[in-house]
Structures are given as C-alpha cells and as structure tokens.
C-alpha cells in the first residue's frame, strides 16, 4: 500500500494523526524475516494515553507531551515557541550553531538528495513526514515567516505560507524525535546543508525556551547526571559497589586478582565509560580493566559525581546541558592531574567531549581527549598483550560503525585493525565506515522507552541496521553458525539488544552482539577460559 501523501501544509491542520503506520508498507527485510508475520507490531496507544498525550503526528509518542488544559495554555506555549524561534536565529543567543543553521535555512535547493540517504525515510516505505527536507522545510517556513523582516507578506507571495498552530507545535516536537541525527543526509547534500542539525535545533527551541524534552534526556538524563552522578541513577557509593562486584567477577571468570585504580591523582589517564556499561554490559569495563592491567597502563577511574559516567545527553537536545556536562568531566580530569582523558566505548561521549566541547573547554579545562579505539589499538599493536586470534575463530565477526565515532569524528581504521588482529573471520557489512547506517538508537532514541516509541524505534529506525546485519551473514544465516556483531558503543548496543530481542535474532540466526574490548580479552592467551560468553543478555 502506498503511503498517503502528506504536504508541508498538513502539519498545521487540526484533527487526528497525519500518518497511519502500517508495517506492510515498510521495506521488506531479507530472510528469515521476509514474512510479514515475523514483523514486530507497533502498538496503538490506548484511548487514555491518546487523551493525555499529543500523538497527532504518526500515532507514536516519544516525548509524552501532555495535552494542554486550556486554550490559554496553548497560546502561552505558542508565544514561548515564537520567542525561542527568534532566539535560534540570533547570534548572541545561538552563537553555538547559528552559522551552519542559517546556511541550511537559506541555501537548500530542495533537490531531495538527502531523502535517498535517510534510512528512516527509505525503510519506512518513504513516508513523507520522515523525509529530512520535510522537517527542515517546516522550520524554514517558520523562520521565513516569523523571523525574517517582511516575512508574513513574502511567505504568502512565495506560496510557502505556514501557520504556527498548536497542532504544528505538537507535531513538530514529535517530528524532531523521528531523526537520529546520524547526519547521513548532510553527507549526501551537494550544497552542504545539514538537516540533521535542524533536528537538533528544533529540539533546542523546545528545551531551552519551553523546558520541554523527553524525560530520559533531561530530568533523568543530564539533570540526574549532574546532580546524582549518572544518568543511570548510580551514585558514587553505588559506583564503588559496582567496581567491587566487577573485581570479584573478574576473579571468578579469569582468576586474575587486582584492584581497579579509583581517583588516583597523577595517573596518566582518566578512563571514562558510559555508566550504562557497568549495569548492562559489565564485561566491557571488565575487559578494559584486564587489558590495561596486563599492559601496565597508569590510569584511573573517577568516583566523583558525574566522573564515572561519560555520557552527555546534552549533545542531543540542549547546548547548556551539553556544556555543563563537558565542563564537569574536564574539571574532574583537571583535578586528578591526568595527561589525557580516554573515552570508553560510547559514541556520543566521544563526539561530545572530543569534538563539540572542544569549543567550550578553554584554559586548563582543555585536557586532551582520546578515543578508546585509538588507545586500545596502540596497546594491541605494541605487543604488550599475548594474543591468539584463533581463540575467536569459532565465529564470524562483523563490525558496526557508530555514527558519532566514524562519520562525525573520522575514527575508521583503529577498530578494524584491532578486529583483524584478534578475529580471523572478519567481514564488512555494506556500506561501512563513514557511510555506515545508524543503528537506529542514535539521537537519544536508545534510552527513550516512552509508550509505543520503542516499537517505532525497532521497526522503522533500526530496520536498516537489521537488514545490513542479515545481509552480511546471509550465506550462513542459519543458527548452526556462530556470528558476532561488534558494536563499540553503549547506545548502539542498547538499540541492537532491543532490535535483536524484538526479532528473536539470537534464537533464530545465532547472532550475538558485544563490544570491542571483549574480543581482545577473548584472544588473550593469559586468560584460560573464554571471556566471551555465548549467551543472550
């Protein structure tokens, strides 16, 4: 069934949802998921949920925006949105991204090249509202009408008029959470227009002016991170308990008995993991500890508030929160007197602290930052670890490139050099490297479990990644062959876990996923038993 055609004018219109989602219209998946009955359902919201929350875009609610109680409430929010819109295009208020944003607003030639690069649009069966240009087209019309002088008259004359209504506002908010900000669209743009940035800037208006953001990103995310210590809710004493637990686990698994360095002033390196690893995939920080211990690295972890959680959710929705988290991390490194910060296997931590915050951290806060992929590669190449790749020979391995590390930071080779050094059976999925497909959990999606949003995230946002994984192993897709998807990023792993779980990929195809450090430890000859457990978690 062809998708119903929706035009930019429709976003303002009153009434029910703009788009009905039907899995039958999504791009079919390869074997063994080429049957519609294996397709996970996108749950419909209940009547009560629909009454409480705005869901007029596509029947999905990522943000859980409560329906306003009165017309006055609506008017007040519209006024605030308009004020935020104007701030977005002011050099003092939005110095952080004004230049790239204005270039995007003014110079898009509507060639639609970005649409072909966007996996969400393509995999959804080309649903118009998911087109990158649809979202930015709405913002462009608003900008031209409400921010530029003479806009109201010129908008009418140009045939691109738009009315800022409550329906538009509520739908635009949701629409800004239908893009993972992977920036594949920007890479494909012949002019250099960046529709991924537009997504983030729309989110910013809502967060920085109206105080609206998904709870998991703001209240339980950056706010909890700064106040409690971690977006997982883990406090400093909780972190220390976890470390003790992991020390015991390493002892049980490998016989190695050593203490993890915590708050060691004067260490060479501050290692910062995504705290989600400690709770969901402890084998990853454990693998780091084993490698660094074996290589004799002088490093430390931090137990200070926020210092043990490398995430920075501000990167997805709010410049101030982004800056606060980055400054906190840098301040901890400065206090410890380390020579550099090494960022664990977490893509957005990489990009936010290394690249984006580079123009926030000045003076002695500008502590050098390095990727753990680069760092691990140096250790592997140095010969300080005794490695036998044959210990990983019982599985075929492929690699997922996290957008934040690869397309947005240019870290392409180190992870490949490591895998090739420790896994004899490596195969690349296509496309890969800087042209990779997002896992579908980017832009904060992987940590947003609201209502039926996870269903959408799996069926639509994660579809391209699932297709790639199935394609790369298609010749050995049956469950008799062990296959491993290496995803050196916590958020990507979270998404892949949910994606594989929904489709039963481990049970049906025997494909497991995990981090990079675990593969190294699994190849270490000093560790007697296999470190990598072949079981679903």
């Amino acid at each position: 069934m062809a998708a119903k055609r929706i035009t930019p004018d429709d976003i303002s219109r009153p009434g029910g949802q703009l788009v009905e989602l039907d899995p039958a219209q999504f791009r079919p998946l390869p074997s063994p998921y080429d049957k519609l009955e294996l397709e996970p359902k996108i749950r419909c919201l209940t009547r009560e949920q629909m009454d409480r929350f705005e869901c007029g875009l596509d029947g999905v609610s990522a943000v859980m925006l409560p329906r306003p109680e009165s017309e006055n409430d609506k008017r007040a929010m519209l006024e605030k949105f308009l004020a935020g819109l104007k701030r977005l295009f002011n050099g003092h208020d939005n110095w952080t991204f004004l230049q790239p944003l204005l270039l995007t607003m003014e110079y898009c030639s509507q060639c639609q090249t970005c649409s072909g690069a966007c996996r969400i649009f393509e995999e959804s069966g080309e649903i118009e509202i998911y087109r990158p240009g649809y979202r930015s087209g709405i913002l462009r019309r608003l900008y031209k009408k409400y921010v530029k002088s003479g806009g109201k008259i010129l908008s009418r004359l140009s045939g691109n008029d738009i009315d800022l209504t409550w329906n538009l506002l509520a739908r635009l908010l949701e629409l800004s959470y239908r893009c993972t900000i992977c920036r594949r669209c920007a890479q494909a743009c012949p002019i250099g227009v960046d529709n991924g940035l537009v997504t983030r800037e729309i989110r910013k208006i809502f967060s920085q002016e109206l105080g609206i953001a998904p709870k998991q990103l703001h209240e339980l995310g950056t706010v909890q991170h700064l106040r409690k210590g971690s977006s997982t809710g883990m406090t400093p004493p909780g972190f220390l308990d976890n470390i003790e637990f992991m020390e015991d686990e390493i002892r049980e698994k490998t016989g190695l008995d050593f203490k993890w360095p915590i708050d060691k002033a004067g260490a060479d390196i501050l290692l910062v993991h995504n705290a989600g690893e400690y709770l969901a995939w402890p084998e990853n920080p454990e693998a780091f500890a084993i490698i660094l211990e074996a290589a004799g690295i002088n490093y430390t972890l931090s137990s200070e508030l926020s210092g043990y959680d490398g995430v920075n959710y501000g990167v997805w929705y709010d410049d101030m929160q982004l800056a606060r988290v980055a400054v906190r991390h840098a301040g901890i490194a400065k206090k410890l007197g380390v020579k550099k910060i090494v960022i664990g296997e977490c893509g957005h931590s990489h990009k936010s602290l290394t690249v984006i915050a580079d123009r926030i951290l000045t003076g002695d806060l500008n502590v050098p930052r390095e990727s753990s992929l680069t760092f691990l590669n140096e250790i592997v190449k140095s010969g300080r670890l005794r490695l036998d790749p044959l210990r990983n020979a019982d599985m075929q391995v492929t690699l997922h490139d996290p957008c934040n590390m690869v397309r947005l930071m240019g870290i392409v080779k180190p992870q490949r050099e490591i895998i090739k050094a420790v896994c004899p059976n490596f195969r690349e999925m296509m496309p890969n490297g800087v042209e990779n497909f997002c896992c579908g959990g980017g832009g904060g999606f992987a940590i947003m479990p609201n209502l039926n949003f996870p269903d959408w995230r799996i069926s639509v946002a994660g579809r391209a990644k699932l297709r790639q994984v199935l394609d790369v192993f298609q010749d050995i897709i049956s469950s008799e062959h062990k296959k491993f998807l290496c995803a050196p990023c916590s958020n990507c792993k979270g998404q892949i876990r949910d994606l594989f779980s929904a489709y039963g990929v481990f049970e049906r195809c025997n494909i497991l996923y995990g981090g990079l450090a675990e593969l190294i430890v699994n190849a270490m000859t000093d560790i007697k038993n296999p470190f990598q457990q072949w079981e679903w978690r």
Binding site: P8, A83, C111, R227, M320, N366, E370, M409
Partner: protein
C-alpha cells in the same frame, strides 16, 4: 548612453555588492561549536577512507598533516563534476550537470568576449579576416564555448524544471522562487541560443557590445533578440544575489567552515580567544534549567544554573 548599457552597469553593480555583502554577512557570523563531517579531504593520507587525526594516539602532540591539495582536488571534483550529486542523486545529476556546465561555459563566453573586446580596444584586428592564428582561435573558441553554454544550459534547465514540475517529491517542496529561477534561466538560455543562431553566429554584435561597455562608449543599434538577451542577462545578474542560486558562496562556508572545520582549540590560540569571547555572551533563553542572564561560562559551571551553582 542607451538604457541597455546602463542596465548592465547597474546589474553588475547590484550583483557585485550583493555577493560581497552576503559573503561578509556569513563570514562575520559568530564562531560555532565544531560540527565536523567526514571524510575531510585535508586529512592527509586519511582522506580516501574518511579517517582523521583522532585515529592517532596523542594526536595533539603530533604535527598536523594537512593537505591543501586534497581540498583543491575535492573542490574541483565538486565544482566541475558535481561529485556529491552524481553519487547520491544520479537522476537529477543528468540535468544538473549539463545545467552547471552550461553556466560555466557562459562564464567562459564572457571571458572570451571580454578578451576580444580588450584586444579590439588595443587596436588589434579582431575581424574574421584576421591573419593571426591566435585571433582566429579565440573567435572559434568563442563560438564553440558559447554554443555549448546555451545548449547545455537549455537542456539542463528544461530537465530540472520538468523534474520539479512532474515529480511529486520535488513539486511539494518547491517554492515559487524555485520555479521562477529555473524559468528565468531557461528563457535566458533559449533566447541566447536563438539570438546566436539567428543574428550573431560570430558573436560580433555581442563582442562589440562588451567592447562598448568596457570602453564606456555608446553602443550602436542591436538586433531585437540580442537586446532581449542582454536585458534578461541584466535581470538575472541583479536578481541572483537574492536567491538560493548563490549557493556557490554558501558552499564555501558549509564545506570549509562547517563540515571540514576540524581546527582544534589549541591553548593560547586565536581560536581559543574567540571561544572565550563567545562564552562571555549572556544567555537569554528562558527555560527553568537555563541560567538566564548569566554568561555561557557561568551557566556551564553550574549544574542547573540556579544561584550559587
């Protein structure tokens, strides 16, 4: 002086001022946070696969291996081959490529006409009977380049206009100005081609007109089609700075100042001074968690921006 000449002077002035003002406005925008997008062609030795200095351990201690040649090569591919469009939107490239090639050829035509006009000013015999091989070569090149320009431009603009009109994907996202721009150019190309074929195969009329422009002397009578052609060119030149067609200016910034801008914030650098200045801006966003009224530096130092943080 005839109105036609005055209109060209005026349009050239509007074009030049418009482009300069636009360029200055974009370049004076405040410094922004880094927003790299790979591959970056100046990453010497790594540009082929999209790698960066972040692949090297302790990269900040190592000399920057930057390649201007890499950037020049990439820009040339982009300008003369529309590389990105060729790769990601081949269907459109089949029209956009001849369209752009046509425009480049017409720039070449202007250069060749101006060369001829200057030589005429200096008393060189530029007639078809000239004994000089160079003169004959310039005359011949002018004809070929001009013919290519009009024809390719016409094919390209017609194809782009049809694509935008017939394909829903394009139509629903196109503005009136998108159509107007293409229609204006299509008309210019069509008139230019007709004028050349019907009245000015050797470009002697146009060359003389350019000569009179350069020498500030009143031009003689011109055939009607050439008058229309010149008028359209004047309208196009004056209109261009106010359209998205100035993406040739924007593209410098979107590439060099955004996606390829990976300059690290080195301690003590000019960049660091600019960052410090930007962080001194007062925050006027008003959400409860924002430190409204404080500077960005002060706001970033707190946990939610409340007093005392």
């Amino acid at each position: 002086m005839p109105a036609l000449q005055i209109s060209i002077y005026a349009s050239l002035l509007i074009f030049a001022v418009g482009i300069v003002v636009k360029t200055i406005k974009i370049s004076r925008m405040p410094i922004h946070l880094r927003w790299d997008l790979y591959p970056i062609p100046h990453e010497k030795g790594k540009e082929r696969y999209g790698g960066s200095r972040h692949e090297d351990s302790d990269w900040w201690t190592k000399p920057v291996r930057s390649s201007i040649a890499g950037e020049v090569k990439e820009i040339a591919r982009e300008i003369f081959g529309l590389k990105t469009l060729h790769r990601y939107n081949r269907g459109l490239w089949y029209f956009s490529f001849p369209f752009h090639l046509g425009l480049y050829a017409l720039i070449g035509l202007i250069v060749l006409l101006s060369t001829g006009a200057l030589l005429m000013m200096w008393g060189v015999d530029f007639s078809a009977d000239s004994a000089s091989l160079y003169i004959r070569l310039i005359r011949f090149s002018t004809i070929v380049v001009g013919a290519l320009g009009w024809a390719l431009g016409l094919i390209g603009s017609a194809g782009l206009l049809l694509t935008r009109t017939l394909r829903k994907n394009y139509r629903e996202f196109s503005s009136v100005s998108n159509y107007f721009d293409l229609l204006l150019l299509l008309t210019l190309f069509a008139v230019g081609l007709s004028a050349w074929l019907s009245a000015d195969l050797s470009y002697d009329f146009l060359r003389t007109f350019v000569h009179d422009l350069i020498s500030f002397s009143a031009t003689g009578d011109l055939p009607m089609l050439i008058r229309i052609e010149i008028s359209l060119a004047a309208i196009f030149l004056a209109y261009l700075p106010f359209t998205t067609m100035t993406h040739f200016v924007a593209k410098f910034f979107t590439y060099h100042r955004v996606r390829w801008d990976d300059s690290p914030n080195a301690p003590g650098s000019r960049l660091e001074r600019d960052v410090v200045e930007a962080l001194g801006n007062r925050v006027s966003w008003t959400a409860p968690h924002i430190a409204t009224g404080k500077t960005w530096s002060e706001g970033a130092a707190g946990d939610r921006g409340e007093p005392g943080n």
